[in-house]
Symmetry: C2
Subunit: 463 residues, 2 copies
């Protein structure tokens, strides 16, 4: 792809006149902005701009639009689906310097942040208030990126995803207009929900520059529990019955026997090599004890073994340590490998069946295929370990993933619970939602971006 040849260099001159040395066309900077955490090949932009204000974003958008140059918003590059790859060249809009927390409203339980603020930065900033922002996708992503990809993660089972936790957005549209999608009221029935339309739009409808997010009180107490099971059915049945019993689980994750094996090797631990569920409970001191006791009883009825639970901070950390290390431990199963991560999400009643069929399907894959997931939401990831130098390994993993997606769709699931569509799942989404839905998305895209300049090639098929 020699996009740079076609790139109108006068764009760079105009950008430099506006931004001075906050424009870069150096190979190193372009390369850094042309790859993410996905398995997709490197696709650098033609130029990178480092912006500080919404008005600067508007000015850059106006320049790019006049020259018909693609624009790709960029946070910290932790996408797993190639969201930030400049597959059609263009200007990467790096928002990481837009990292001011603009307001924290303690009584209203919300905060207004610039798009480049990361979730950990926000939580550090509000630590003294007794509030926290719950959405935790693992990576320390920017809130702009998390809103744009409708991120979720371990806390979603109780606190929801970015869909539920964004109150309002400031967005620069492709024609340079700046909109605020909603006021700061906790709820509103005023007109079409454009906030939710931008949440998950992956930079294809406009550039999100500010986000108003919901905050939650840090509960008086937290407790954690870990339990191994003979079968994945035991895990899902325990979680289903726990939720039905009204226990407000805060986190609830599963790892498979292969993942536990990887952790044991990586951390020199000796956990039972079996499907294992990690729980976390938030509430009053009495309530978290009660919750853990309820889960222990339910787990026991479902073949739970080695149930451990803890209320003290250091004990909780120790219990969750295995889960937190799972990704890196699994990568070590094949040193030098990268992971092709799958992301289906099915109704929880079908989860065990979906996992069984999938495990059967992948049993002859060239490497062990560890599983980890957010069991309370029916969302799980397989890690296909591939050698990036061998494209045939990536291709093989993609074939397994295609079958997995088809299996999940047959069970009324989705091809992506939280990673988004990006470049690789457009066909899966068509299978999931049908041609008419795809046509509607394309028509909506056209309203916002008639020249297809906003992160082209992502979410919506090119015309």
């Amino acid at each position: 792809m020699n996009k740079a040849r076609e790139f109108d260099q006068s764009v760079v001159s105009e950008l430099k006149a506006l931004l001075g040395d906050r424009v870069s066309t150096s190979a190193a900077v372009r390369e850094h902005h042309g790859k993410d955490e996905s398995y997709f090949p490197y696709a650098p932009p033609d130029a990178v701009v480092f912006l500080k204000t919404t008005e600067e974003v508007r000015d850059v958008v106006n320049i790019c639009r006049r020259h018909r140059v693609p624009m790709i918003p960029y946070g910290v590059g932790t996408s797993l689906e190639g969201h930030i790859l400049a597959v059609h060249g263009g200007v990467c809009i790096d928002l990481s310097q837009m990292n001011a927390v603009l307001a924290v409203h303690e009584s209203d339980l919300d905060a207004v942040v610039q798009a480049g603020v990361t979730r950990k930065q926000l939580n550090e900033h509000i630590k003294h208030t007794g509030l926290f922002f719950p959405v935790d996708p693992g990576a320390d992503a920017t809130l702009g990126g998390m809103a744009a990809t409708r991120a979720s993660g371990t806390n979603a089972v109780r606190y929801g995803t970015m869909r539920e936790n964004v109150l309002s957005l400031k967005v620069v549209l492709a024609d340079g207009r700046i909109i605020q999608t909603s006021r700061r009221a906790k709820k509103s029935a005023a007109g079409y929900d454009l906030t939710r339309l931008f949440v998950g739009s992956e930079g294809t409808l406009g550039v999100i520059t500010e986000i108003t997010v919901r905050l939650y009180p840090v509960q008086e107490a937290m407790s954690a529990a870990v339990c191994a099971f003979e079968t994945v059915d035991g895990c899902t049945n325990t979680v289903i019955q726990t939720i039905q019993a009204g226990v407000p689980i805060a986190r609830c994750d599963i790892v498979c026997d292969k993942t536990v094996g990887a952790i044991n090797k990586y951390k020199k631990t000796s956990y039972r090599v079996a499907p294992t569920v990690f729980f976390e409970f938030h509430g009053s001191a009495a309530s978290v004890v009660e919750q853990a006791e309820t889960v222990q009883a339910i787990a026991k009825e479902n073949g739970g073994m080695d149930f451990q639970w803890a209320t003290k901070a250091e004990e909780r950390s120790a219990l969750w340590d295995a889960r937190h290390n799972a990704y890196f431990a699994c990568l070590q199963l094949k040193p030098g490998a990268r992971a092709v991560s799958t992301d289906v999400c099915v109704p929880i009643s079908r989860l065990a069946e979906c996992v069984h069929e999938t495990m059967e399907d992948v049993k002859d894959y060239i490497n062990p295929v560890p599983l980890l997931g957010h069991i309370g939401d029916g969302n799980f990831h397989l890690m296909f370990l591939i050698d990036p130098a061998k494209p045939e390994e990536t291709e093989l993993a993609k074939q397994f993933n295609r079958r997995l997606v088809e299996r999940a769709l047959k069970m009324e699931g989705t091809c992506t619970g939280e990673h988004g569509i990006g470049m690789g799942k457009i066909d899966s989404m068509r299978l999931e939602l049908g041609d008419d839905m795809m046509d509607l998305m394309r028509d909506i895209k056209h309203v916002f971006d008639p020249h297809n300049l906003m992160n082209p090639g992502k979410v919506v098929p090119l015309p």
Copy 2:
């Protein structure tokens, strides 16, 4: 408005060929479908059809579109903002016979219903499962109407509004296509969130025919508490501190002294005539006691008086009886009156200030102006009692409401927390969201409904 004269009667012939006697043009039926619970004048459709399946809706939409006749979806007519008034004539699509609960997935905590199922019908249907559907706008509205207007109500503080509780929709588009907006997975990051775009679209983008909603476990125990306060500040501060303390309030409503006075008169009770907050807590038996005790302590610090709480069902009902009777009690303050209900929602930190200024503004209104509201969400309603025979009284109420909306907007609030835009709040929404947002909504409307046939005159200004 003599719309009927312009109405193409061949539409009725075609509809009758399709539906037989499930088409009505009788004056009584048209009149019944031409008014709702709002203060807007009667606006009957030219014909009413009673449909039973999504395919019938599609066929009717195709007939109406070919003849360029407006279509107005209708549930049970409990709108407070004129949503179902046929201000441009056309065909009323009555969905009340589409009242089948299609599936209940107990393990997945969701249900699939036709649009005409009411919330009480659903809750009755699932009673034996130990699950319930929480969104409660007061009226026994249809779930189709509730989705279309993004309804909420007393439980929203804990369980969210229709925005959070709709998983997927089946929709008939203006061009006759039938789409399913999402799969049944609990979360998904697949593409633009068209589910949320239809939630709150008030029938202007298509006809919702099926809804997949989230269900919740009925908790082991419920407790209720009622407390009077010297000031509205005392109420809001209690609620703010309660939420910040991490107490998961299930319901939390406020009534003002005038409302309590009206209740005392209507129910022959002797509650202290003062601002009063009603709480409801859901959880384990131990937890609801703990929650009520925490609130009692917080209320005491904020001038709470006559704190009462109860865990037994009959005692809880007795406590909440005053709140449940508030609307009708207030109507009795002026027998024969109708109510013009306001619906602003502000960040809770501004609620007391907003209520104070508003009370000062309305103190010389021709009748007492009672207040009731969902204090945990910052959403409150004033009831302006008007004589429907005197248009000047409605006009006066609307003037007060306009000032109230402007006040709420200055406090970062919204003109409608839960009633929707309908016909009367288009200008308020423009003030709230700005011209660019209105233009975007109009452009989106045009994608879905290029001939402006879907509930024209609502939400989006006519071209």
